[in-house]
Symmetry: C2
Subunit: 415 residues, 2 copies
């Protein structure tokens, strides 16, 4: 968990303002849910490994007997927990408030989540997630809106050139079926395929054999992996070429529609890349899955997918849904150097004997003119003060003595 | 705890943006601390009654023996807790990060806090606090900056005419001393005086007698209360007239300097009102205390005071501090009707057979022109859709058919 000092906090708020503004422009609406959800809801098996990392809230007013009784059932100690993601709360929110929401609901959530991670570099126990979701639209229109909006966010942040790797869980399922992996071994096979980037084709095949996956299936898969690496075109021909025969037509059609649509908006630069080996961890995905990439970094800047089954768990009625989570913390780190200063920010350095009324009146006049103002009593080391003020984003300073008024105030540039 | 739907969330974000922008203009810097603090720090006796209302985080990985052992010491079940205010975290933040902060540090904190209140109207278990504090300035410059900035925030929100009731804990202490209340009975006496607005002078005197406070002291106090009610002028003469003899000169001088300074900035309308019976609950106040009032409501819109002792509890070195908390939730409620719509927001109502590429291209063109765009497939009941879109802040709509392009798109106003 981290404290954010003024410069960090200002940078975070600037990035958030851009994200919020762009997503709103694309027709998404921001909502907010409480940070605590019911313990049982957070442990309903939807959150995968994150459930185990969730912080629980101690029940209020437990007596000694209640505590002793909980020794064999620690879950009895907690009735609430801190959310570990924004997807479970969104599903609960939608089920609670559906009557007041549009038929196709496009949500923005920008909020912290908590996970009891072991402290290590780049892992935080509290971090901000920034999700957009579209609930109630089964067509590729939904994925296309998520993707074009998110690429627009990257552009607006000065991170032009983003691209999106796309696959579909149904492609993976069909592929494993085609190669002959039996249903029971598929989850394990997917975990291994997910490591392709790290361990390469030979590593994947070796690990599949170690897992004891069906030898015929592994052979067929190895042969498929062995084909020359290509970057397939994101159209019907390209996608079919990249896949073994036997993938359902409607899955390919959904991908093709998505590719055409994003290309129509983003031009010939083809920001979509079809990657038949993209897996993504969460078990709740049911269709399209995707990850946002940028040429300057070798990690993804966000990801998401379709989870048509989850809303039904809370609502008791199936509603299609697809979401994308932009990697806020990673993007802030990437924009580390883009400090930015206020257009007009002035430090008024005053002598100790300047009357407060004079001082505050000078300040108020500048503030009313749209200037940001900081008051500082003149220290022994003026140079250090001016350097620190410049570092804090101030652009000029003025000296205030007992006879200084608005007319005689003389602004000098800082550094 | 509440869900915030799009219209509520948008209103909250608009109010927050104004508050943040105005306070920044006045030279305050926003910071952020983790929502969890160490359990021991939250229960150090600084938070008054709020400590008892704090939510605790269950320790991770407790075994059955550990839980059983905690039956007689429930505090052993928790190592962290959710903050119940922003003042304790600020004091901790300042102690942690002092070396990287300016000598006089003006902070903004806008963040949720949690209290395990019994559910009742107007009491929330999660609510946003919005604090500004100045650490490292013992002079009335600090109070004057808090007050002029906060009145400016109210103005910017369209709530002109705000005023501030001011007192000083040292005035109360000296007054009780003058009347002859012994030190042990003073905390109780202050609790009773705090009810003056509700139960009137006779009610206060009766309750003081019920409490068994010293009869001579109560008589003297009753006589003082019995003087004709006036609205004292906020200057040396006015403040001295309002008080019994025997209040230390330096306390009065601090108040007078503050009054002159705020009047110099805010003009002759005298937004400061001296109220010698203002108490404010928190035990940590050591000097000036104040509450923000507005003519349209009979409750305060914020309050604060000087707490010169608290930073020292964390830092081991005394540093003067004064803070003000603007009543964010109350202000949002007050501005309930100020919905506001986006300048240019368009609903594109499309036929089912319009190709997605055409649809998204039309949307992207409008978004690039600075328009907010929502896509809607034409429903059976178009009228209901258009009414709901207007309620959601959209200002116009256009029908999209298979032959509609950017040139032929016809925007019509939404009632």
């Amino acid at each position: 968990m981290r404290d954010f000092l003024p410069a960090d906090k200002a940078r975070r708020e600037r990035v958030l303002a851009v994200i919020r503004e762009r997503y709103r422009a694309h027709g998404f609406d921001e909502i907010e849910t409480p940070v605590m959800e019911d313990y049982d809801r957070l442990h309903a098996g939807i959150g995968g490994d994150n459930e185990k990392l969730s912080f629980s809230i101690l029940k209020r007013g437990m007596d000694a007997d209640g505590i002793r009784a909980a020794a064999d059932d620690p879950a009895a100690l907690a009735d609430l927990g801190l959310r570990y993601d924004l997807t479970v709360p969104l599903a609960r929110f939608y089920a609670t408030n559906r009557a007041q929401l549009p038929t196709v609901f496009r949500s923005i959530q920008i909020a912290p989540v908590w996970r009891a991670e072991r402290p290590q570099k780049g892992r935080y126990r509290q971090f901000v997630q920034c999700d957009i979701d579209i609930i109630g639209d089964a067509s590729a229109r939904a994925e296309a809106e998520l993707m074009t909006a998110s690429l627009d966010v990257l552009d607006a942040l000065g991170l032009e050139g983003g691209s999106i790797r796309v696959n579909d869980r149904r492609v993976l399922d069909a592929m494993l079926d085609v190669f002959g992996f039996v249903p029971e071994e598929r989850p394990g096979v997917l975990i291994t395929i997910d490591k392709l980037d790290k361990i390469g084709a030979s590593g994947v095949v070796a690990e599949l054999r170690d897992r004891g996956a069906g030898a015929t299936a592994v052979d067929a898969f190895a042969e498929y992996l062995d084909r020359p690496a290509t970057t397939p075109r994101f159209d019907d021909d390209g996608i079919r070429e990249a896949l073994p025969a036997g993938i359902p037509d409607e899955v390919i059609a959904h991908l093709v529609a998505l590719g055409e649509t994003v290309a129509a908006v983003r031009g010939a630069d083809a920001p979509l890349v079809f990657d038949p080996f993209l897996v993504r961890g969460m078990g709740y995905y049911t269709g399209t899955i995707f990850e946002l990439a940028h040429p300057t970094v070798d990690y993804s800047l966000g990801g998401g997918g379709r989870y048509d089954g989850m809303i039904g768990r809370f609502l008791g009625q199936q509603v299609p849904a697809v979401g994308f989570s932009i990697g806020f913390e990673r993007i802030v780190d990437l924009l580390q150097d883009a400090a930015g200063s206020d257009d007009r920010a002035v430090v008024l350095v005053h002598d100790r004997d300047v009357p407060l009324a004079q001082l505050l009146r000078l300040k108020a006049g500048l503030v009313a003119d749209g200037v940001r103002v900081r008051l500082e009593q003149r220290p022994k080391n003026l140079k250090a003060l001016l350097e620190r003020s410049a570092a804090d984003g101030y652009t000029s300073f003025a000296t205030v003595r007992t006879d200084t008024d608005a007319a005689s105030l003389e602004l000098k540039p800082l550094a």
